[in-house]
């Protein structure tokens, strides 16, 4: 089987009969390469013919066939120049040894005609072969243009063709690869048993799968491999065209993605578990922590009631402090539960009017403003998209903070307005002229139960800003604050534009 036979087949799809097209032009080219060789061939063939003819002449035979053969050989393999030389040499020899000069003209014509005929045949053949060769090399170079790795192996796994892609991927030149067993050279590792692969391949004529190959430098590559089976006219399998794509990087990324996904799944399971635990924790706090507290308060109060007449002032004070602490702890637990509930509750987002929400918040904080002199300044406020009750809680918390921390001012000023945000966010602020805070501690402001003022001056558990922050974070926004000691504070929050 010739090489051209195999690798042309998959290209034009039809059975291309060009057997020998590669082998013979090569031989011919090699002979025609050298002028010396070509004319030498003419000389040699005529000499051999002369020798033969002289030998035959001893038996009284005169034979021109040998000369014609010599001319034919020279014309066929040596080209026109060699044909002319052989013609002249043959004629001179023939005229000299075998015929009278006067009778030699017809022989010359005969030789010349014969030389011309053979040369013509030869040139036609050469043209056809050249065309074929061009075609073959064009197709061969087409196969070399592709990024794919393509090689052809026969049924005994011997490599018969090896394109540039194969050379680039595996590192062996065609000369090194051709003739070798492909599976041995590439140390092929199949993902399924080779027998199964072969059986499927021979049955369907095609196979696709992933293989591991080892390159010339010893590194391993993963390839997406496609095999096509070529059969002869008797439907006998004769060769395999194997096209491989290097998918090592892709596989590695897939592997990485898979690992990351697994990691992510694990994390999310963990998070889910943690969430469940937190929920159970909150539930437990709600139930179990409040009960002993209630008992402490209850029994202390009963004690206070029963023993009030016999207790001195100090003891009464102790009981009062115990009750006060129990009450405070009750409030802390309630706040903590409310805070945890905000993290767990589902947000129901609708388009809300901030102006309306501020109005509602003002109603809610009205009790705190009694007996106070507060100048409210409510600016134009935008509509936004969010959970109505949660965002109202944010406003209530910020506004009641402002009310609380302006308590020491004879004339409190509280402003609610809209600040310039970027193109994606709406920014709302609540500004007051209250006691302010040290910017050094700004990071502590939004922590759970973090307080910057002592609880004698300003009551509260320190959950309001943490709750506000949690709500705003759940809306995809941010909270921040600016303040000056004794110079007022401004609290900002942003929510994404609707």
């Amino acid at each position: 089987m010739s090489l051209g036979d195999v690798y042309l087949a998959p290209i034009n799809g039809a059975k291309c009969r060009s057997e020998g097209a590669m082998a013979r032009p090569k031989l011919q080219l090699r002979i025609a390469q050298s002028l010396v060789l070509r004319y030498g061939l003419a000389l040699l063939s005529v000499s051999v013919a002369l020798g033969g003819a002289l030998l035959i002449q001893r038996f009284q035979l005169r034979n021109i066939t040998l000369f014609l053969f010599a001319i034919a050989v020279a014309a066929w393999y040596g080209g026109t120049g060699a044909a002319v030389l052989a013609l002249l040499l043959s004629f001179i020899s023939f005229a000299h040894f075998f015929v009278e000069p006067s009778q030699s003209i017809p022989y010359f014509i005969l030789f010349a005609l014969f030389a011309w005929l053979v040369s013509w045949f030869s040139s036609v053949r050469r043209r056809v072969e050249a065309e074929l060769e061009i075609e073959v090399s064009e197709r061969s170079s087409l196969l070399n243009l592709t990024h794919d790795t393509i090689f052809v192996r026969d049924m005994s796994d011997s490599i018969r063709y090896w394109n540039r892609g194969a050379e680039e991927l595996y590192g062996w030149t065609p000369e090194q690869a051709i003739g070798k067993s492909s599976h041995e050279l590439l140390r092929t590792v199949f993902s399924s048993p080779l027998d199964d692969v072969q059986a499927e391949f021979l049955r369907t004529g095609r196979w696709e799968g992933e293989l591991k190959h080892t390159k010339a430098d010893g590194t391993q590559v993963i390839v997406a491999s496609r095999w096509s089976l070529r059969r002869d006219e008797r439907e006998q399998p004769i060769a395999v065209l194997e096209t491989n794509n290097d998918i090592t990087v892709r596989k590695r990324r897939e592997q990485e993605i898979q690992t990351l996904n697994q990691e992510l799944a694990k994390r999310s399971t963990e998070l889910e578990a943690i969430n469940k635990e937190l929920e159970a924790f909150a539930y437990s706090v709600s139930h179990d922590l409040r009960a002993p507290l209630r008992h402490m308060a209850g029994y202390t109060e009963l004690l206070q009631k029963k023993a009030s007449s016999t207790l001195d002032e100090k003891c009464s004070h102790y009981i009062l402090m115990t009750l006060d602490s129990a009450k405070r702890m009750g409030n802390l637990i309630d706040d903590l539960l409310a805070f945890s509930r905000i993290g767990r509750a589902e947000t129901q987002k609708t388009l809300c009017s901030m102006t309306q929400l501020v109005r509602e918040a003002l109603t809610e904080v009205r009790d705190d403003t009694e007996g106070r002199n507060i100048a409210w300044k409510i600016g134009a406020l935008p509509d936004f998209y969010g959970d109505r009750s949660m965002l109202r809680l944010v406003l209530v918390n910020l506004m009641s903070n402002a009310i609380k921390f302006t308590r020491t001012r004879p004339q409190a000023e509280i402003e609610v307005g809209c600040a310039d945000g970027n193109s994606n966010d709406l920014v709302v602020f609540v500004r007051d002229n209250g006691v302010g805070f040290d910017m050094k501690y700004v990071n502590k402001l939004f922590g759970v139960f973090q307080r910057l003022h002592d609880s004698d001056a300003f009551e509260g558990t320190g959950i309001g800003l943490a709750t506000a922050q949690r709500i705003i974070h759940r809306h995809g926004g941010k909270v921040w604050a600016e303040g000056v000691i004794d110079g007022g504070a401004t609290f900002y929050f942003s929510v994404p534009k609707p």
Partner: protein, 152 residues
Amino acid sequence: METMNKLGRILLVEDDPKDVELTLTALEEYNLANEVIVARDGEEALEYLYSRGKFKTRSSDNPAVVLLDLKLPKVDGLEVLKQIKSEEKLRMMPVVVLTSSKEEKDMVASYKLGVSAYVVKPVDFHEFVNAIKELGIFWAVINEPPPGSVRK
């Protein structure tokens, strides 16, 4: 007291002895503690309601109200409530959940099962006493219980 004449029986289902003591103390203050049956877990509550076990010989009348804690040993409060509401003989009996839990899911579950009221035990003892007093007066005195309930 005039109200004593028609004081209903209260079934208090509560596992915590301190809570029982404080509740009874609160009820005592208003002379409501005489007709209180205490069950210390869900199973005991059901035994009482179905006149089983140690309550085999009790009179067949239902209490005027059940004060039911949710977190109970053996059979929890919601399960007790579910059984009460699925039993023809018991389903009309008022049940008040009296619990420490402010959790929404407990409230929703209780109301879905048809609870008459849901009361969170206040931490403050004054409020607690008030709550118990009001519950006792309302359910054991003011409210007209369904037929088949105990009235003295």
